[in-house]
């Protein structure tokens, strides 16, 4: 049975390749049909805001790539409630269907996975 992987993405979307490179690990794993989940934590939740304009920074559309996750079989998507709140992000207006977790939910999530990478 395949080992499951939790990817924790903590980088803001336009702070360098971190957000994109975390996503690439998820997409590659999905392409191999591995059981994967992604958690957006700390500045990682900033990837989830709507109406971003990456073209202003001559960057590729991260939102579109995040939205491709379910197509690659990665449907277990989570965000830290507190991280959203601290950053003034409206949890009702996100660009991705994520389950919101409090601290108890976060530790329980981490426990369930065989592998974890926190980028």
């Amino acid at each position: 049975m395949a080992k499951s992987l939790l990817l924790i993405s903590r980088q803001a979307p336009w702070s360098g390749p971190g957000a994109r490179e975390a996503l690439d690990i998820a997409l590659a794993g999905g392409a191999f049909d591995l059981p994967l989940a992604m958690l957006f934590l700390d500045d990682g939740v900033l990837q989830l805001t709507q109406a971003q304009q990456p073209a202003q920074l001559q960057q590729k559309d991260l939102t579109a790539n995040l939205q491709a996750l379910p197509m690659f079989g990665v449907e277990a998507l989570y965000a830290c409630n507190r991280s959203l709140f601290e950053r003034g992000v409206d949890s009702g207006a996100l660009n991705l269907p994520v389950e919101l977790l409090d601290e108890h939910g976060l530790s329980a999530l981490l426990q369930r996975y065989d592998l974890v990478i926190t980028l």
Partner: protein, 100 residues
């Protein structure tokens, strides 16, 4: 499945330690390496937070990093490790989560 958390950033300018503390489960472990050993600096809120963690959470530090930074006075609960001990420690936890 318990997790060994590996930290390597200074806790004063960085949120990794505080985020890690919020995600911990009761039998997890924390290994401080690199600048994360500064969390053991006497008189800091970070050291206090680590000392207040439940007993079930084991606390480790990479010895070379403590010595390099002249951090001599560490809480009794901290186990200091060399690399062979670090390797064996990773086998005592189901997985290792490095806060990159």
């Amino acid at each position: 499945m318990n997790t060994l958390h590996l930290l390597s950033h200074s806790p004063f300018t960085d949120s990794r330690l505080s985020s890690c503390l919020r995600l911990l489960s009761i039998h997890d472990g924390i290994l401080l390496s690199g600048d994360a050993v500064y969390a053991l600096q006497a008189g800091t809120a970070q050291r206090q937070a680590l000392e207040l963690m439940p007993d079930g959470i084991a606390l480790f530090a990479l010895e070379e990093d403590l010595l390099a930074r002249a951090i001599g006075d560490v809480p009794a609960r901290v186990r200091c490790l060399d690399y062979p001990a670090f390797v064996e420690l990773t086998l005592r936890y189901a997985k290792v989560n490095s806060w990159l």
